[in-house]
């Protein structure tokens, strides 16, 4: 079963090698898919023509991995073009952006295009793991090819009918038209001809010129807009099945706790409660895809299930994590950064730079655990039938992993599990993990009826896979002339997928904004230190870039001040000449580069300088600085997208922090849907404001201390940046994602602005303003 693990390059563990590869599609082939395949996923008018895309992706070691054909676009005789969305929609707009590419290349009338969400099925759709900001990066070319092939066939059919050369034909508004002539014919009227036509060779299929696109590179409203505005959009908990019971689970209060005994009497006394079922937890280590131990209360409605779960009496063996305190561990982690760690990047000789330094700076940066707190708490629906087959509805970022995890937990063949993907009420990495989907399947099997498992907000905050808390110590040296001569970055945090033993962060986590430090400093050493996970650690929007960018961006500001330099000028100087960085010979262990070959996606200092210059110009950086405004700057590349950020702050009459203005400049290569690029940055600034100023998860005696949004705070409208200006640098480079890259540079830019305002530097997230 190849879908049992997430395909995160940064996990860098043995298991990950067995997972679906993630990376640029090296080759893709267009083929004629069976109509039957397409019918399984969407209603299609009779007599439709169906085209698929056959992906070949580079695997973890650069090998080619083929996927079986996948159906992606159909044209029906009623002229409706149906396009499959195979990635999960959690707010990035991907369900719109990829189909847009197919439609634009095809020349379809966008207002008549129907988008159908794919089931979780790796054999049919290839990689559906929606994380790592790579959907557009991976699928831009294949989607273009699918649209272009269908267009070419339609033009060939029309040319034959009209007795003209195919070069005289074009497509628009779901019609083939004769260039400069008056002939036109609807796609639907050509379906019978193209159904029997031989597929053109890939090299014979012309692609449109970028300048002729009507959708790509423009602002296009999301497909589900009207449904969302009228409450009709279907999210995870919105599917009703006959005889379905609702489950609310009391999970082990401390990770690794086991239920010694429980009394179901009081729960069963709650009207509407039907059953109490124990879920056997995986124990320690928790892994990433197994439920925690818990006692589920199954009821006719959610309210009865909530009350029933509160009435349960459970006696726990709390296990080894019951003495864990996160604040104590953070102190231990700070201490560990003072020792020698495992060297993970080495350039020059840092010790020598230090011993000959004119001045040395040493700062320690702390960040807390964060919960994802999607406004939609995890929920999933499972219908395990008597013959062992299973149908799931779930708001899943990684439907294939969820499908495999369900098959594994129930001991049934993967083919017996069908997984329908609903809209996600936010994901941010939480809904990559399939634990809640497995819970629904186990409970449906035990109850013999369909079950919706519904997490409450407290369940969500208490049992997340948290973004890890972290300690970092950076030592920077200036030589006798005041040049930055040495950079020594120590980092420690319990790693994703931790086992029971102490371990340093994985190479993949260090690749996220730490050891890919781009500045032209002659002596660089990156050291990783060991720590142990005592709760479940996962990945949150932009992952370890969050704390790494904070530490680096704040330290750079401090250095600029000490050197008497404008931080923007310093960044431009330290990036040096225009060139592509490949870190040759410097990385200890593999450098992941977000799953891409460094030759294909090098670290371009020119592109970074361009976004920095753009943000400085558009935000009036120099003028604001001269006027004494509290503005802060930081730049950070993540997920292969270049971002620079300027944040302005002030205080209101009551002393509260206000963020009147944010400027971002971004180079994400070709920007497919410019409105969704902007919306990700607007949202990223707000998400990052929460991380920087309001949110923290702490654990005492193994238990999470925050129960709801009163204690785990995310920003509200008055705290949000008032205006976020997004400057998209025009680029014809390969498109890269924008879901995560807005978050990392915002936090140090805000920290640096707050320092200008208050005169006090903050070394710990969330800030004291």
């Amino acid at each position: 079963m190849k879908t049992m693990m997430p395909n995160l390059p940064f996990l860098n563990k043995k298991e990950a090698a067995a997972s679906t590869p993630k990376g640029t599609v090296d080759r893709s082939e267009i083929f004629r898919a069976s109509r039957r395949d397409f019918l399984k996923i969407g209603s299609l008018a009779a007599g439709g023509f169906v085209l698929g895309v056959n992906f070949q992706c580079s695997g973890p070691k650069g090998e080619l991995v083929s996927f079986a054909p996948n159906a992606f676009v159909s044209i029906a005789s009623d002229n409706v073009v149906t396009i499959i969305a195979h990635r999960s929609e959690m707010g990035t707009g991907i369900r719109t952006s990829l189909p847009m590419i197919v439609a634009d290349e095809l020349g379809a009338d966008w207002s008549q295009v129907k988008i159908v969400q794919a089931e979780g099925d790796e054999d049919k759709y290839g990689n559906q793991n929606t994380d790592g900001s790579f959907s557009v990066r991976m699928f831009y070319e294949p989607m273009k090819k699918a649209g272009a092939t269908a267009r070419h066939m339609l033009m060939q059919a029309a040319a034959k009918e009209w007795g003209v050369d195919v070069s005289e034909c074009d497509t628009e508004n779901s019609q083939v038209i004769q260039k400069g002539g008056s002939k036109k014919i609807a796609f639907g009227d050509l379906v019978e001809q193209i159904k029997v036509m031989e597929l053109p060779k890939a090299e014979d299929v012309p692609m449109k010129d970028f300048s002729s696109y009507k959708l790509v590179g423009k602002d296009v409203p999301i497909y589900d807009l009207e449904d969302i505005a009228t409450g009709k959009a279907v999210f995870g908990a919105d599917v009703d099945l006959p005889n379905m019971l609702i489950a609310v689970v009391r999970r082990s209060p401390v990770v690794g706790a086991k239920a010694l005994s429980y009394s179901e009497e009081k729960a069963l006394a709650v009207p509407g409660v039907k059953k109490v079922v124990k879920i056997d937890g995986v124990g320690l280590p928790t892994g990433l895809d197994k439920p925690l131990e818990g006692i589920a209360v199954l009821a006719e409605n959610t309210w009865s299930a909530i009350k029933g779960s509160e009435a349960l009496e459970v006696e726990w063996d709390l296990g080894p994590n019951q003495t864990y305190n996160s604040s104590v561990q953070l102190e231990e982690m700070v201490k560990s950064t003072a020792s020698n760690g495992t060297v993970k990047r080495e350039r020059g000789n840092f010790n020598q730079a230090k011993s000959s330094a004119g001045k040395t700076f040493e700062k320690t940066y702390l960040a807390p655990f964060y919960a994802h707190s999607t406004i939609e708490p995890p929920a999933a629906i499972a219908d395990v039938k008597a013959d062992g087959s299973v149908v799931i509805w779930a708001p899943s970022q990684h439907p294939q992993w969820a499908r495999g995890a369900v098959a594994g937990a129930l001991g049934v063949d993967l083919a017996k599990v069908r997984l329908n993907v609903t809209l996600l009420g936010g994901g941010f990495g939480r809904k990559s993990k399939p634990d809640y989907v497995v819970e629904a399947a186990l409970l449906s099997k035990a109850a013999g009826v369909p079950v919706r498992v519904q997490w409450t907000r407290t369940c969500d905050l208490h049992h997340d896979y948290y973004h890890s808390h972290s300690a970092q110590r950076i030592v920077a040296t200036l030589d006798g002339s005041g040049n930055l001569s040495g950079w020594n970055h120590h980092t420690v945090f319990p790693a994703i997928g931790s086992g029971l033993d102490a371990a340093p962060p994985s190479d993949g986590e260090l690749d996220l904004g730490c050891r890919d430090f781009p500045y032209d400093v002659p002596n660089i050493r990156v050291e990783a230190h060991e720590s142990t996970a005592h709760t479940r650690i996962g990945w949150l929007r932009s992952v370890s870039n969050i704390h790494h960018a904070f530490a680096i961006g704040a330290m750079m500001d401090e250095l600029a001040e000490a050197r008497g330099l404008d931080p923007v000028d310093q960044a431009l100087q330290l990036l040096g000449d225009d060139r592509d960085l490949v870190f040759a010979g410097e990385m200890v262990g593999d450098y992941g580069n977000y799953g891409e070959k460094i030759e294909d996606f090098p670290w371009s200092t020119a592109r970074m300088k361009k976004v920095i210059e753009t943000v400085a110009e558009k935000s009036n950086w120099k003028a604001n600085l001269a006027a004494g405004k509290a503005v802060g700057f930081a730049a950070h590349k993540s997920f292969l997208t270049y971002v620079a950020c300027v944040v302005m702050v002030e205080k209101d009459a009551n002393g509260n922090l206000l963020i009147p203005e944010v400027h971002y400049a971004v180079d994400c290569g070709i920007a497919v849907n410019t409105d969704r690029v902007r919306s990700q940055f607007e949202g990223g600034a707000q998400f990052a404001t929460s991380l920087a100023t309001t949110s923290a998860i702490t654990l005492e005696n193994g238990r999470v201390q925050q129960n709801n949004f009163d204690t785990y705070q995310i920003i509200r409208m008055p705290q949000a940046p008032k205006k976020t200006h997004v400057h998209i640098v025009p680029s014809m480079e390969k498109p890269t994602g924008v879901g995560e890259p807005p978050v990392p540079p915002f936090i140090p830019a805000l920290a640096n602005a707050v320092y200008k305002l208050s005169g006090k530097r903050n070394y710990q997230l969330p800030f004291q303003v």
Partner: protein
């Protein structure tokens, strides 16, 4: 368990529920109306916002026994054809990202505009402070409310 008749979107609905069942679960589980969302269960996030006699209330914390003759309006009943000025403005500004909180945002904003047809920016922020959005659509929500207020 008791029988209740409540007025939802202009229709009398008869349900059997325990007296403490929040209107949120009456709507979602008993009446099958899924537009109103569950977010926190403690009136902290606003995802479940509906109108009770025109006022924005958090349905997760409103027991059915407290509704009485009150008139409930949900996102499904805000307008006939999805054409309330706020719904049109939401479309114009392409407000949603994931969309989950937006029913509650729109219902809260509709109650605001009903009592204050041209709110200032500060009044909008203060009135909307009870509605959380994790994706970060606050700027566009504010812009859409301003647009809608101009069309009233």
């Amino acid at each position: 368990m008791d029988k209740y008749v409540i007025k939802v979107n202009g229709k009398d609905q008869e349900v059997t529920a325990s007296e403490d069942m929040p209107v949120l679960w009456v709507l979602r589980d008993l009446l099958g109306m899924k537009g109103t969302k569950f977010g926190c269960g403690q009136a902290l996030c606003g995802a479940c916002t509906v109108h009770l006699d025109g006022e924005a209330v958090r349905s997760c914390s409103l027991p059915i026994s407290a509704v009485g003759d009150g008139v409930i309006t949900t996102i499904e009943g805000l307008s006939e054809g999805g054409d309330h000025p706020l719904q049109k403005a939401w479309v114009e500004h392409i407000v949603p990202q994931c969309g989950y909180c937006q029913s509650g945002q729109i219902m809260n904003a509709a109650a605001l505009l009903a009592r204050n047809p041209s709110p200032s920016e500060a009044e909008i922020e203060s009135a909307m402070a009870g509605n959380l959005c994790r994706c970060g659509t606050y700027n566009r929500i504010k812009d859409a409310i301003v647009t809608a207020s101009k069309s009233l």
